[in-house]
Symmetry: C2
Subunit: 318 residues, 2 copies
């Protein structure tokens, strides 16, 4: 990637920030403050950057509409975080106080709804295809999250259920970001499909890596206690694979755990090849993501997307 | 209204029920069950019937798209009820167990999001104008609810703040229902505006009457304890008007109350002309709603809408 591209991405990032702040402005100053809270806490804005990079991959101009399309997906992500934090009774998010802790569950639910509404309003301004896609994506996100809730503490949760849940709650948003960037950029149909496939595969790899880190990283590395998912009863890919081994993990799970019990369970998950196997699966998805970019050999946008895939694996155990 | 119209409305009602059930079907049977819960509890479906009557007022056919447009607004209403019940920790809704009581807050929040998503998906299928309108309506609903929350227990809440909140949380949905029916029915612009004005004025009257009933009706009449809003600190029009009188109400409010205190506060609200004054305001809105229908003199659809206005006042004290 040339220097010009690097300077472009910085400009795009600031356009994303501006569009995010614009999107949540309400006549009600209080609601604006609450809805802006997580935006001001920062973030990598991976989803809007994917929309931009997708459009650029196919040679489209990065118009304001492309930026706003990516922002719509980011707003869906942020809105879902507001609701997740209510669900988890989380005290903090991204190192700042969570919305629910600061303003209460009531306001957090409504502000989350408001973010989803603003996302839908932007999508509507980009045409019926984008509006329909964004709405369908929110629906899949809910399906994924409900499925995860329903299988909580279930030691017989299948890998198929896991893959389906993370596709809905995580991968569908990355896929939507790429697809919207490609649609708004008016790329040819086959490029739209290829970029959607990239986003979906990237999202699967992203979530698996995240789930591996939850059982392998230290609290200092994660910025939150390790084993959070295990405590919440969310049995992710490395846990499900370890459960199918003969290491006694099954008898430790199935109910809330903490302290020494949690440490013992984490040790069991880490010592049975389940982590390596899960990372292999993540790498398979990553390979799929990279292959999906084959039609975009010489573009800086695609090079940036490939770089994002590499970055995924920078933090994982070797 | 002719016999033919009466038989039509029954047919439309069953088309609305069918479209509602279709809309919430998910690949996930559990989510379908949760999302269908309040639909199966029944309801008058005023919003979709308004969309239909609005289209019919201007002579448009009641196509499936008109029905689905009204259903989208009803789904927004239902989704907001799911979230309201979490906020209020309500044990029941429409005589059945509330979603949060039955499945927990977590599932209730996600199922509410899912209903909003399905509403947006339908709206997207009806074009960018409808999609944009529905999204903006959800945004206004959130603004209205947040404003209501923020002024809870505030004895200095202004009437302007009250009117703005109920316009957002209630009237905007009736306005959207009529407007969507008119847009999908391809009525002329001036008819679309007139029907929107009708819906907005109807919605204001509807909410004021509802707020009056909360302080005047008995628990048996309401199906829930009287004075619920007072207990929650939501000071509605009759309360605000009574507060501006010299009846000592101000010293009783400003904090949660119950039992004898609540009874004394209700008595104070009822005995100062505040109820009559509030009903006069509701009637002013009702007159505005009826006037908005002037362009539709000879239509059965408009006659049905006028009847809905009359029905509003059937339950209030005379």
């Amino acid at each position: 990637m040339g220097l010009q591209w690097a300077s472009s991405t910085e400009k795009w990032r600031s356009r994303v920030e501006e569009a995010l702040r614009d999107a949540v402005r309400s006549e009600d100053a209080y609601l604006t403050e609450v809805a802006s809270h997580l935006i001001l806490a920062g973030g990598k804005r991976v989803r809007p950057m994917f929309a931009i990079a997708a459009a650029a991959s196919g040679g489209a101009d990065v118009t304001d509409d492309v930026v706003r399309g990516g922002v719509a997906v980011e707003l869906v992500h942020l809105g879902s975080l507001y609701h997740d934090d209510v669900i988890d009774e989380a005290p903090t998010r991204r190192t700042v106080e969570s919305v629910n802790a600061r303003w209460g569950n009531l306001t957090a639910i409504l502000a989350g709804d408001f973010l989803l509404a603003r996302a839908s309003e932007i999508a509507a301004s980009l045409g019926t295809e984008v509006a329909g896609l964004l709405a369908a994506t929110i629906g899949r996100l809910c399906e994924g999250e409900v499925s995860e809730l329903r299988t909580a503490y279930n030691v017989d949760r299948t890998e198929a259920a896991y893959f389906s849940a993370i596709e809905g709650k995580t991968a569908s948003l990355f896929a939507a970001a790429c697809r919207i960037g490609a649609i708004v950029g008016a790329l040819p149909r086959e490029q739209i499909e290829a970029l959607t496939e990239f986003g979906l595969a990237y999202g699967m790899a992203f979530q698996i890596v995240d789930d591996v880190l939850d059982v392998t990283a230290t609290e200092a590395e994660l910025g939150k206690p390790a084993g959070h998912d295990l405590v919440e009863g969310v049995y992710t890919l490395p846990v499900l694979r370890a459960l199918s081994g003969g290491n006694g993990l099954r008898s430790r799970l199935g109910a809330p755990i903490e302290g020494d019990e949690l440490d013992a369970a984490l040790t069991a998950v880490r010592t049975d090849g389940a982590v390596d196997g899960s990372l292999d699966t993540a790498r398979d998805y990553a390979v799929g993501a990279i292959s999906a970019l084959d039609p975009f050999r010489d573009s800086d946008g695609a090079a940036w997307l490939r770089g994002a895939v590499d970055d995924l694996f920078a933090r994982v155990p070797v």
